[in-house]
């Protein structure tokens, strides 16, 4: 198939595999409803004629060859047409010349013409115009439509209005706006149809459905009508133009024979007539106004002209409508951005609070789900992969070096670059990742589901059974949809420039907030330090300024007893002694409090220390009590050497052993000190082994409900003078020491049988 061979639709062999190279501009045939004559401009004699002159004009094409126009038109009409061809600029496409009833024809024909170098191409199509004026009134036809279009606010609304107007103008069964994507695939973006027809809205078609030659043609002509897809095309006679010695270029011809593939596809859909008009934005084919009619439908030239005019108006306004819509999306993003930043900036809102709530991170961009990964924790909203899958994804992202300087990366085909994503492509096929920490450990992730998942339910073609043509089911919307589906397998709708930019801007804002929070934490720490210092000062006050008056009370009570002996009476003296005892008790409480506060703060130097030595020290301190109670202090095996603050740990042993001796009413008392290995959760999902020390006794035991209370400061389980008293701060101080070592303490006990205190000294 070369341009110079005498090709014709009828003789050519276009197949599904070569249709992308089909010479659609030189089909060698015309649509059978009209006649095409090619004239030599120099003498206006016919050099080519379509074979259907016999059917429409009652004259064989061969008879017309070499003749002038007077063979078909009256002399005054010949003059009009000759003048028209001489004076009009016709090289850029056909213009309407006149309406006439050719000799031998049964009715009037609209005559349009254009020129190609030495040639004039004159096309004759049946006219429905009745009477005068002969000039087509596009304006009145289109004016109302255009004014109605102005009221649409969204691009889709605008396109819907366009389909309705075209349908009103033409009376066609179905009018669609078909929109191309950047990959030349397309989808039905708007539709107006007869109520009883299935909708094609949101159906997607692969790029191959409208092959490149067809797309190129649509940049050159403003409408294309096939009034009856079943009508046999009429070949040109002769097939090769004798003037140019080449096939006639029919790019601009209204009557250009339709591609076999095209007509078969239409037939397979049950369509009989189709009118298509291109929508062009900035020199690119943006989309098509595609129409279907389910019976043959001829649309006369002047109505087509009106539609064509409408398509041109729409094309001119597309840019504005599309920009406006983009602008509105940007505005929405900006307003959500600002609300989010405002929420984040309030002192008690952490980033994770922004994941949900209103507005949330999901409102910022058109996405299916969003996740915040911060400090290893994952918070999500919308539809996302599982936290484990997100964790793995974050690890992969961190190891990648790609992405901008700010680490922002995005893809609409995640499974192609990250294989494990294949299993969750229905939630996260598209990914927009924004690091919010220098290490890229903390990230914001927006997810988009696979494209197919979002449209399959809306746009899967369902058509009535029709007779499928010779090229098989490929030329059906259902097959087209399947092919498109394959072509977008593993793809999500791409992230637009505006969206990526918005994510970048949000990142900067988040970093500001993070830095702001860090500053706030620093400030709080400073305040906390000041508070702790105040507390220190308070401890000092407690030790002196509280104790001095206390001693005063005590002393004066003592002086009273001394100085007024015999005058107070027994009762007076007893009361004074009670007063002295209470003041002493208050002093010991103050002392305990001071001790406790010193345990929590102040010097804490750990070193490796043999706990046997520590225990020995504690034992010496308790020597008197051990002898007094005749208790047996057992150590089944030597204690290990551990890293600790020895003085404080000595206090732990001392306190626990002292309690064990104190709360024991058995005749044979014993206390056992030892250790055992234990497995504990490590706080990161795993486990670790730790050494648990224990002090066990055969004492009175502690009821289970008090197992927590024993560690509360000044909490006593028994009357003050039972079991030897004490302030009730001992276990609180023990717990503090253990916690300062990073360990924990707990109690196991059976009432009446004994108690075991366990403690660890950190990892």
């Amino acid at each position: 198939m070369t341009d110079n061979s005498a090709y014709s639709i009828k003789s050519g062999e276009v197949t599904l595999t070569n249709c992308d190279r089909e010479p659609v501009h030189i089909p060698g045939c015309v649509l059978s409803h009209g006649v095409l004559l090619v004239l030599r401009r120099s003498d206006l004699t016919v050099v080519q004629a379509s074979a259907n002159t016999s059917a429409l004009f009652g004259v064989e094409p061969t008879v017309l060859l070499g003749r002038g126009l007077d063979a078909l038109l009256a002399p005054d009409q010949v003059d009009v047409l000759a003048h028209f061809l001489r004076t009009e600029r016709l090289e850029n496409g056909p213009l309407f010349a006149l309406t006439a009833i050719p000799t031998g024809a049964s009715g009037p024909f609209d005559v349009t013409a254009h020129t190609q170098g030495e040639l004039a191409v004159v096309e004759w199509e049946p006219s429905t115009r009745t009477g005068l004026p002969a000039n087509p009134d596009y304006y009145s036809l289109v004016k109302r439509s255009v004014s109605r279009l102005q009221t649409a606010t969204t691009l889709r609304g605008y396109c819907e209005a366009v389909t309705a107007e075209v349908r009103a103008l033409t009376g066609l069964d179905r009018v669609m706006v078909y929109r191309f994507q950047s990959d030349n695939s397309g989808w039905v973006f708007a539709e107006s149809k007869r109520d009883d027809l299935n909708t094609y809205l949101d159906q997607h078609y692969p790029a191959a459905d409208i092959p490149l030659p067809a797309r190129q043609l649509f940049l050159k002509l403003w409408h294309r009508l096939v009034p009856d897809v079943r009508a046999e095309p009429a070949e040109l006679v002769p097939l090769t133009n004798p003037v140019t010695n080449a096939p006639l270029d029919m790019t601009y011809c209204s009557l250009r024979g339709a591609s076999v593939m095209y007509t078969e596809y239409l037939q397979n859909m049950g369509v009989s007539a189709a009118l298509v008009m291109p929508l062009v934005r900035d020199g690119h084919l943006w989309g098509l106004i595609a129409t279907h009619h389910y019976s043959p439908k001829y649309i006369p030239h002047h109505v087509r002209a009106a539609c064509e005019f409408l398509a041109q108006v729409v094309s001119l306004q597309l840019a504005a409508a599309e920009d406006r819509e983009g602008q509105e999306y940007k505005l929405r993003i900006r307003s959500v951005h600002e609300s989010l930043v405002l929420r984040a900036a309030t002192t008690d809102t952490s980033l994770s609070d922004l994941v949900t709530g209103s507005p949330g991170l999901l409102d910022l961009l058109d996405a299916g789900g969003v996740a915040l990964v911060q400090g290893g924790a994952v918070r999500t909203a919308g539809r996302t992969p599982s936290p484990e899958q997100i964790g793995a994804l974050v690890g992969w992202l961190r190891d990648r070096t790609e992405g901008g300087a700010d680490g922002v990366t995005h893809t609409n085909a995640l499974p192609a670059v990250y294989k494990p994503a294949a299993v969750f492509k229905d939630t996260a096929c598209g990914l927009l990742a924004v690091p919010i920490s220098r290490s890229r450990r903390d990230l914001l992730l927006w997810f988009r589901p696979e494209h197919i998942a979002t449209v399959v339910w809306a746009g899967y073609p369902t058509e009535k059974d029709v007779q499928i043509g010779p090229h098989g089911p490929r030329l059906t919307p259902r097959k087209s949809f399947d092919l498109w589906r394959e072509s977008v397998e593993g793809m999500a709708p791409a992230w637009s420039e505006a969206e990526v930019e918005a994510a970048r801007r949000f990142r900067v804002a988040v970093l500001d907030v993070v830095v702001g929070h860090a500053e706030q934490v620093a400030k709080l720490n400073k305040e906390l330090e000041a508070h702790v210092e105040e507390l220190d000062a308070f401890a000092y006050v407690a030790s002196h300024d509280l104790k001095e008056p206390l001693r005063g009370i005590h002393n004066y009570a003592a002086f009273l007893i001394e100085d007024y002996q015999g005058k107070l009476g027994t009762d007076g003296e007893v009361k004074l002694r009670a007063m002295m005892r209470l003041s002493q008790r208050m002093e010991s409480l103050i002392e305990s409090l001071l001790h406790y506060s010193r345990t929590g703060r102040g010097e804490f130097v750990v070193r490796d220390k043999d706990l046997n030595a520590v225990l020995r020290g504690a034992r010496e301190m308790l020597q008197a009590r051990l002898q007094e109670t005749a208790a047996d202090l057992r150590v089944p095996r030597p204690l290990p050497t551990v890293r600790c603050e020895p003085v404080m740990v000595g206090e732990v042993f001392g306190n626990l052993i002292s309690n064990a001796l104190k709360y024991n009413d058995k005749p044979d008392k014993w206390v056992e000190v030892g250790y055992e290995g234990r497995t504990e959760p490590d706080g990161e999902g795993g486990t670790k082994s730790v050494t648990a020390f224990y002090v066990r006794d055969n004492g009175i035991g502690i009821p289970a409900k008090h197992h927590d209370a024993v560690f509360r400061i000044f909490k006593r389980l028994h009357a003050r003078d039972k079991f030897g008293g004490g302030t009730g701060a001992g276990l609180t101080i023990v717990k503090k020491v253990v916690e300062r070592h990073g360990g924990r303490i707990w109690v196991e006990s059976t009432e009446g049988e004994g108690t075991t205190f366990y403690f660890t000294l950190g990892g």
């Binding site: 001095e548 005063g552 002493q584």
Partner: protein, 144 residues
């Protein structure tokens, strides 16, 4: 036994002062006690004594409280030890504070002893009497 049996007690609390005086009163050969209720009057008293009577009338030992109104006990200690005429008088601290920082400070600045006051009067008296026994019976108080 020595001739000079006077003690200067620098103490703002009447209760503590009385407790101290009572405890000392029970000691053998109960010493004479001068009392100053604040740091400034103590320093004035010491320097005035020095001018009028010379060395002989100076206290054998000073019992000094730390928390004093106006010039603080710590500063009184520093001033005494910085004064060539007074620095040889032993100063024993008698205070409520058991803070290690206070103990360290006082010994660093030349204190001869540090007694923490207990709330129990009997214990208080015992400590004061121990103090007396040490300074007036075991050792010879400074008369230099």
């Amino acid at each position: 036994m020595v001739a000079n049996r006077t003690i200067l007690l620098v103490e703002d609390s009447d209760a503590d002062s009385e407790a101290t005086v009572r405890a000392l009163g029970r000691c053998v050969g109960s010493p004479a006690v001068y009392r100053c209720a604040d740091g400034d009057s103590a320093l004035t008293f010491l320097r005035q004594l020095d001018r009028v009577d010379g060395l002989a009338s100076r206290p054998a030992v000073i019992l000094l409280d730390l928390n004093l109104p106006g010039t603080d006990g710590r500063e009184v200690l520093e001033q005494i030890k910085a004064d060539d005429a007074l620095k040889h008088i032993p100063v024993v601290i008698l205070t409520t504070s058991a803070a290690s920082a206070d103990v360290a400070f006082c010994y660093r600045h030349g204190a001869s002893g540090y007694i923490v006051k207990p709330v129990d009067l009997a214990k208080f008296a015992a400590r004061v009497q121990q103090f007396h026994a040490y300074w007036f019976e075991a050792v010879e108080p400074s008369t230099a």
